[in-house]
């Protein structure tokens, strides 16, 4: 194997065996795209969490009418809880390059942020960011998995 040259080294990213997902695959897989719901959860200290996922078309960061329906619920929740700050976590499916997908996930998070701001939510209460294709919810390489992975998690 030395024919390539001894003078090279290769740096590679080694994939850890398990990654922890904050939302289980089942909880999303069982959820039809059209029935995205907002479920305000109360914990012991009465913190309120927006817990919603909105989905996107391939290569797109436009909000669908279904997404807007879900986001209306988020606006309502945030208006009723003025101290609530939420993270908008953008994701992409595995197709395409990792860095472009990181940027695409960010555009999706920003699209959600822009909608919420235009509906009266202060930008300071929103933290848009992206994981690109690095945290898939559904692990297959097929249309179903991809549609579940192109998302913004609101939490």
């Amino acid at each position: 194997m030395n024919k390539f040259s001894n003078f090279y080294f290769i740096s590679i990213v080694f994939i850890a065996g398990c990654s922890s997902l904050q939302v289980t695959e089942e909880s999303i897989a069982n959820q039809d795209v059209s029935s995205v719901t907002i479920s305000p959860k109360s914990t012991a200290d009465k913190a309120v969490l927006a817990n919603a996922v909105v989905y996107f078309e391939y290569d797109s960061y436009s909000l669908t009418s279904k997404s807007i329906l879900a986001l209306k619920g988020v606006v309502k929740l945030m208006s009723g809880n003025p101290k609530l700050t939420i993270g908008l976590e953008g994701h992409a499916d595995e197709r395409g390059t990792r860095e472009y997908n990181l940027a695409l996930g960010q555009r999706r998070a920003e699209a959600v942020s822009t909608y919420l701001v235009s509906n009266g939510i202060n930008r300071k209460r929103l933290i848009p960011k992206s994981y690109g294709e690095e945290r898939p919810l559904s692990l297959g390489s097929n249309d179903y998995s991809w549609s579940k992975n192109r998302r913004v998690e609101i939490k």
């Binding site: 590679i12 922890s20 395409g96 860095e99 990181l102 940027a103 960010q106």
Partner: protein, 251 residues
């Protein structure tokens, strides 16, 4: 991780339960820059290989990604998200001076330097789909020039070492992703690989070898080819690997 070109001598540089992406060698082979999500947000770190010492390149409260070293090792091109959109900046490492290179509503990312350090190429969505653009750094207010035209997805380009062409990721009309080559002199592109989701090509300093990531079954591994036609695969001894990057010649 770090390994010899035949995959032997593996050493772990950093391990994290959060994603780590986009490794890039310093030209002297002593440091690696990469993106880690360990703080919950993408940030670029530089790590000294011998000592293991590492630092975040910029203390800004924004996502930072896609690091690429200039050939003289003095600069790092980066993607910053401080306006909410991916834009390319060049960081002078000596004093951390940041120069903004792109200002565009669309995504700009995946910058990479020409061998002489006088140009960068990057991926931009400004035409409506990801395409490759080139920018001459010697010009005042350089304007990006589109250099990929075939198909609706061309991304993550790198120059060949004599700048005679570029290697990049191309989506074919069947929706599959391949590594492609375009020589400057030619009008057409050459598709060089044939799996489904080929990604992350890295050109060796001799310009003849390209290593890239493939998925076989559900397993990610590395594969490569020489421009003269030889092909090889480098499955990991355990687990999966992805995103290879060649170092320079080390003396």
């Amino acid at each position: 991780m770090l390994a010899d070109s035949d995959g032997d001598n593996e050493r772990v540089l950093l391990s994290s339960s959060e994603p780590i992406i986009s490794p890039s060698w310093s030209p002297d082979g002593k440091q690696v820059a990469y993106v880690s999500f360990e703080t919950g947000m993408a940030k670029v770190y530089i790590q000294n290989i011998a000592t293991g010492k590492r630092e975040s390149v910029l203390s800004k409260n924004t996502q930072i990604s896609s690091p690429a070293w200039s050939p003289d090792g003095k600069y790092l091109s980066l993607t910053l998200y401080q306006d909410g959109n991916a834009e390319i900046y060049i960081l002078r490492l000596r004093d951390k001076t940041l120069t903004r290179m792109t200002k565009q509503f669309a995504i700009d990312t995946e910058s990479s330097w020409s061998p002489k350090g006088n140009k960068i190429i990057f991926t931009s969505g400004r035409s409506g789909s990801p395409q490759i653009y080139e920018m001459n750094l010697r010009k005042l207010n350089p304007k990006p020039k589109r250099i990929s035209f075939e198909g609706s997805y061309n991304a993550k380009a790198a120059y060949l070492p004599k700048e005679e062409g570029i290697i990049f990721v191309h989506r074919s009309s069947d929706g599959l992703f391949h590594i492609a080559l375009k020589y400057k002199k030619e009008k057409f592109i050459r598709i060089l690989t044939e799996a489904k989701m080929d990604e992350s090509p890295s050109v060796a300093a001799n310009g003849n070898m390209v290593i890239y990531g493939i998925t076989e079954g559900d397993i990610s591994m590395l594969a490569g080819f020489s421009l003269s036609g030889a092909r090889f695969k480098l499955p990991a001894s355990s687990g999966e690997v992805r995103e290879p990057a060649w170092s320079n010649f080390l003396r």
